[in-house]
Symmetry: C2
Subunit: 359 residues, 2 copies
């Protein structure tokens, strides 16, 4: 079925690698590739106003999504949006203060706050996202696949309960340990919302989806399984599996989740994202042929010289080794101060050094 309408997509390397099908070279994209390190992004951002204004402006959101593809030979585009659109649609009032992380005007603190939450209807409540997906897909015109995404239920819950970023997640962990049934209620509404949201993105044109579990790594081994992984499994089980005759692969990325790869590999996701602390060769040995792997260059390596960047790319490609099932990426989002030419050096190195692993 992956053979249907292949002509529509000119470069399907990324989708094929996620399904562990043969490719000519390792596909590459970068988390946060449409971002502040690009001067053309900063120009669009200042034109739009706030970060959320940019997300809600269909034309500009499409423009910034395509910007990195104009600069670099990337194998995938990722929707320009935020991981916290769902709680924003629930009425929590997402905003960003310069130099700080995201915040909510109305955090979720009490039992009543949680009981009040309803599963979002993404087609209506998040129509600006679906408009962006449709527009980007049309403008991409089959050049590369488009990735849709969402934050994981646990990650959304941390921002909703803490009201923003947190060092120790004191409030959510207090709830998790003292009122686990309440935390489960919150996570359950979020999981149903994420299923609805990602399926709406797939219907609008997303050809793969990634779940960003940014804070799963802050949990203990057993709490991770019960409060984060469990809900991501529920999401993966509820996703549309095929669209326009092609499978829709899913990627699960828990930052700091390197210790739990075996459990994550049983989630039903097509691929696992690795942060840079994990040895990709050892990870491949641990998960076997159950999932593809995505990652995992330390984004800070992009501060080094192009020669060093190339060496580190070579080490990761060699670490994964022969055959398909690897999507090259950073181990976390690219940071604002990186020189765009250094990102280019990384992508060029993947192009030049990876074909020998696919002979």
């Amino acid at each position: 079925m992956s053979e249907a309408k292949p002509s529509e997509l000119k470069n399907d390397r990324f989708l094929r690698a996620l399904l562990r099908q043969p490719v000519d070279r390792t596909p590459v994209w970068m988390m946060r590739q449409a971002g502040r390190y690009l001067p053309e992004y900063r120009a669009a951002r200042s034109q739009a106003g706030s970060f959320m204004d940019l997300c809600r402006n269909t034309e500009l959101a499409c423009e910034v999504t395509l910007q990195p593809l104009e600069r670099y030979p990337l194998d995938a585009a990722i929707l320009f949006s935020d991981i916290l659109t769902i709680p924003d649609a629930m009425g929590l009032g997402l905003y960003f203060e310069e130099g700080e992380g995201p915040k909510f005007r109305k955090p979720v603190r009490t039992e009543a706050d949680i009981r009040r939450l309803e599963v979002v209807n993404s087609e209506s409540d998040l129509d600006y996202v679906m408009n962006a997906v449709r527009t980007i897909r049309r403008e991409l015109n089959g050049r590369v696949p488009l990735i849709g995404f969402s934050g994981s239920p646990w990650t959304l819950a941390t921002y909703m309960v803490e009201g923003g970023s947190s060092r120790d997640f004191a409030r959510c962990k207090e709830m998790l340990y003292s009122r686990p049934e309440l935390m489960h209620q919150l996570l359950s509404v979020l999981a149903d919302s994420v299923v609805d949201y990602l399926n709406a993105q797939i219907r609008a044109g997303a050809q793969a989806v990634q779940i960003f579990d940014t804070w799963g790594g802050a949990l203990s081994h057993s709490a991770y399984r019960e409060f984060s992984l469990h809900y991501m499994e529920r999401i993966v089980a509820g996703l549309i599996k095929e669209r326009d005759g092609r499978p829709v692969p899913s990627i699960l990325f828990t930052k700091g989740g390197g210790q739990w790869l075996e459990a994550m590999a049983e989630s039903g996701a097509s691929a696992l994202g690795l942060d840079w602390t994990t040895d990709i060769g050892a990870a491949r040995a641990r998960v076997g042929d159950r999932v593809a792997l995505q990652g995992n260059l330390d984004p800070a390596i992009l501060y080094a010289t192009p020669e060093r960047i190339r060496e580190e790319v070579a080490a990761i490609l060699a670490g994964f080794g022969q055959g398909s099932g690897h999507v090259f990426n950073l181990g976390h989002g690219i940071t604002p101060k990186v020189d765009p030419e250094h990102a280019g050096a990384m992508i060029e190195a993947v192009h030049e050094l990876s074909p020998k692993y696919h002979l």
Copy 2:
């Protein structure tokens, strides 16, 4: 040789567990046990002035070290000090701003800055620490052993180069990847200083030492070995092995190091500290009988009810299982907002639930 002068130490459970010798129950202490969650600590702190004033005041530093032992039946005391005393002694000007992490007035940024650094002479440059160790040891009067400590070379280097805490360690990683020889020079001076510092603490009376590698977990798998673990191995090799006829055990704690336990177990350290993300049972299976393990309750569990705290203590004790080689602790420092009674509930649970694992 561990039988010499046993009368001097009334409770050697902690030292015995680190050496994997039989004990009657699992020993317990808490990282940052002399800290802001205790009202008596806050009183002493406001009497002293700044945090560093408190560290430099022998009498008050001794007083706050002993405070948690007055409240709880703990099995070890830990010197009240900071992990960053060495760079402060190198002239970088350590200070603390309320609500923020530690900072340096003169960060180390250039090659000249690094070439200028000299190995500290702890007996003279850090005499206030040695005075505190001697005073505490005398006041303890053999009640429980005293733990000395230092930050790891990599952790010290991150603060020295960044000038304080960091989200992405951009400056140190740029140096590490672009000028590795310069980073090695810095780490080498620091490793020699830490050896001198910990040995001076041992001579002054510290009966075990812990190396806090707070930021080792921010490195990639290979960079961790080359830039953090390597220098900790060098330190362990240089430590005084025996004092007053007793072995002096060493504990190596890399926060976020759960993926690298096998390598850490080869370091020569007596024990590894585990943060709360690691399953202690799986960790024990991985390291075998090469090292003891210390940890690893999520400090955030102390926000929960005493009943839940007890359940989680039980799970960790059962996870480690039968026999010696486990020192109960949190997986990171206790946080300021914890109710002291909840810390008490944790310690009581260890006392009540652990004897059956030592029959």
